[in-house]
Symmetry: C2
Subunit: 165 residues, 2 copies
């Protein structure tokens, strides 16, 4: 099993933006209430650029989780995210920025998380020494409220000033 090792940072300024070589619009939401104890799966609609898909994943605890994914028309996904989701839609623009040999993913959130910008870099191992760019601010790798799953329950717009620092 592959383990993701990532570091996550806030941004000091907008200096990274002219360096982006790609940007993609992301939006996703759930059609079912995944916090309901009856739910046996999550039913997620996701838009990634011009592509859209529907993803069904079993919620059982265990080694393997069944997952099904189907491409669907972009217009269908847009309409479903606008009208049928339970809970908030997470929406963001993901920018890719190269710094030395590492590609950084910078997520500029929209909607209920507008104002939040987070940079992530993946390491090849825990020993990997990632050169930190000048535009990277405080590291928040360990701060749970920045996780995607947290943002869907406790979005940035509800954070107090201390939490936003």
């Amino acid at each position: 099993m592959a383990r993701e090792i990532e570091r996550k940072f806030l941004l000091k300024n907008q200096d990274w933006k002219p360096l982006a070589f790609k940007q993609t619009h992301f939006a996703q939401g759930y059609l079912n209430d995944i916090s309901d104890h009856k739910a046996k799966s999550s039913v997620r609609v996701r838009i990634e650029g011009e592509q859209a898909n529907m993803n069904i994943k079993s919620l059982e605890i265990g080694l393997s989780r069944d997952e099904y994914e189907y491409s669907i028309p972009l217009e269908d996904a847009q309409k479903m995210l606008n009208t049928l989701t339970v809970g908030p839609v997470i929406e963001k623009i993901r920018y890719l920025v190269k710094h030395d040999s590492h590609t950084w993913e910078i997520d500029e959130f929209l909607g209920d998380n507008a104002g939040l910008v987070v940079a992530e870099v993946e390491m090849t191992s825990e020993a990997d020494q990632v050169p930190i760019p000048d535009w990277a601010g405080r590291e928040v790798t360990e701060v749970v409220r920045y996780y995607n799953i947290s943002l869907s329950k406790y979005p940035f717009k509800e954070w107090n000033d201390d939490e936003k620092k």
Copy 2:
């Protein structure tokens, strides 16, 4: 808007069975809890013969309900119906039987509704005089517990003897 006018009957005996010119296996279930007040859509998986689809329908009250339907692999549908449904799977074999100029659909239910067999005939108008075959028994057109939506909440196996008559 087209309005379905159907009559529904129980069966007196098995005399209809040799007359069937087609039979198709149906199975369907929901991935979300459609009785939950948070649900904005129903997410249904259906198998019809060798075809399978996923159907998402908005639950809003009103003139138009949005509906999305996607073909999915039969094996995916079988696995989802076995492991991910909320509430019972409705399963039946539908037989088609011609009588005079009308085609009758006879549903032989399986699973929690095993033992229930219902014949339906569609009329072209309320004035349409449908010739009733000898094998058709008591008419149950107006009896709510025979509706599909009722069977998924109160299946045949839970009916008492009076209800089964």
